[in-house]
């Protein structure tokens, strides 16, 4: 378990270390402001898919909170 947590922390730390070199100037953000470029650009479909996979598979979550449980798993 502790090995897994270390591996989990590692990419985060690496990202953090490299963060100052990555990114754009505030005035270069035009394309990132596009709604389709948001990481969660379609919350309804994501929610419906999460519900389907939660009912058919053993894993759930990972990318945010599903709102509202159901009696399906």
């Amino acid at each position: 378990m502790s090995v897994k947590l270390f591996l989990a922390a590692l990419p985060v730390v690496l990202l953090q270390a490299g963060c100052t070199n990555l990114g754009v100037e505030p005035w270069e953000r035009g394309r990132l402001a596009n709604p389709e470029m948001q990481l969660m650009s379609d919350p309804i479909s994501a929610g419906l898919d999460d519900h389907i996979y939660f009912s058919k598979e053993a894993s759930s979550g990972g990318r945010g909170f599903a709102g509202g449980g159901c009696g399906c798993n």
Partner: protein, 297 residues
């Protein structure tokens, strides 16, 4: 020469043209039926925007602005367009009591507004102050004499001016409904079918990275002046990029962003900039001008 991309796409009853100019995404909304006309209008607008960009760019060495800024104190004869802009800049300088000054560009040598926290020291700023001040140059049409070390910079009005100029050209070709949006500086003319407004995507000045808001506009112009993207943060205090040419330091208590509506984009832009220059009095200033405005404190 690298060909700059220009895209025309069909929408519901109108065309959308897009290209990049003056470091901004530029859009045209054209309510014309004929695709060839739409293409022609788009080319005209793009070329005009690029022409203005090149002519007034401070990064080029082959344009009138470079000649003026490297004239070594000698008089330079300027063309009609620059003459008109200089006249305009002079009026703005007078109306703003010296706060709007196109000679303040040299201050960018010690001010780098990149969201970081590097402030110049007082000495660095004071060294540049002798080179700032419209009153120090001589403008007698058509000759401009800039003392050595001074510079003029049209960056503060360039984009809005390009919007208005592009629109003038397009209006010579058609009287259909058109809308120009150069990076948030907008101008709409004509009347659309069924009097619908145009829906324009604009970014939230507080969070330039978040999804756009939508503005509905039928006609008129809109310009935004602000430092939501260019600022410094030093010891918790925010320094906007609008500098007071008399002190060399950012205006105290300035708003983050001002958007103003007016008849032309140039006028809207000037009002927005002048409002920012008023610092904490910005809102009072705008109320007195009796124009429509939106603020981000």
């Amino acid at each position: 020469m690298i060909d700059r991309p220009v895209k025309l796409a069909a929408a519901d009853g109108y065309w959308i043209g897009s290209f990049e100019a003056m470091a901004s995404p530029c859009e045209l909304f054209l309510e014309v039926d004929d695709e060839r006309l739409a293409n022609r209008l788009l080319s005209m607008a793009a070329n005009e925007a690029w022409r203005i960009e090149s002519k007034f760019s401070r990064y080029r060495r082959d344009n009138p602005v470079y000649q003026i800024n490297n004239s070594g104190g000698k008089p330079v004869e300027v063309d009609e367009e620059i003459a008109q802009l200089l006249d305009f800049a002079e009026v703005c300088w007078q109306l703003s009591e010296g706060l709007f000054d196109i000679t303040s560009g040299v201050l960018r040598r010690v001010w780098r507004f990149d969201g970081g926290d590097q402030l110049p020291n007082q000495q660095q700023v004071e060294q540049l102050l002798p080179y700032v001040g419209w009153q120090k140059l001589r403008w007698t049409k058509p000759y401009l004499t800039l003392p050595q070390g001074m510079e003029i910079d049209f960056g503060g009005i360039g984009k809005e001016y390009a919007v208005d100029r592009s629109m003038q050209l397009l209006q010579q070709q058609t009287d259909q409904a058109l809308l120009i949006n150069y990076g948030g500086d907008i101008r709409a003319v004509g009347i659309r079918h069924a009097n619908q407004p145009w829906s324009v995507g604009i970014e939230n000045p507080n969070h330039p990275d978040t999804p756009k808001g939508v503005l509905k506009i039928t006609h008129g112009a809109l310009a935004t002046s602000g430092d939501t993207r260019r600022y410094l943060l030093h010891r918790g205090k925010r320094y906007g990029h609008v500098l007071n040419p008399k002190t060399g330091w950012p205006i105290e208590g300035s708003l983050r962003s001002v958007t103003v509506a007016a008849g032309t984009c140039t006028e809207a832009g000037l009002l927005a900039t002048m409002a920012l220059l008023q610092g904490s009095e910005a809102e009072i200033f705008l109320q007195n001008q009796e124009v429509q405005y939106w603020l981000t404190p």
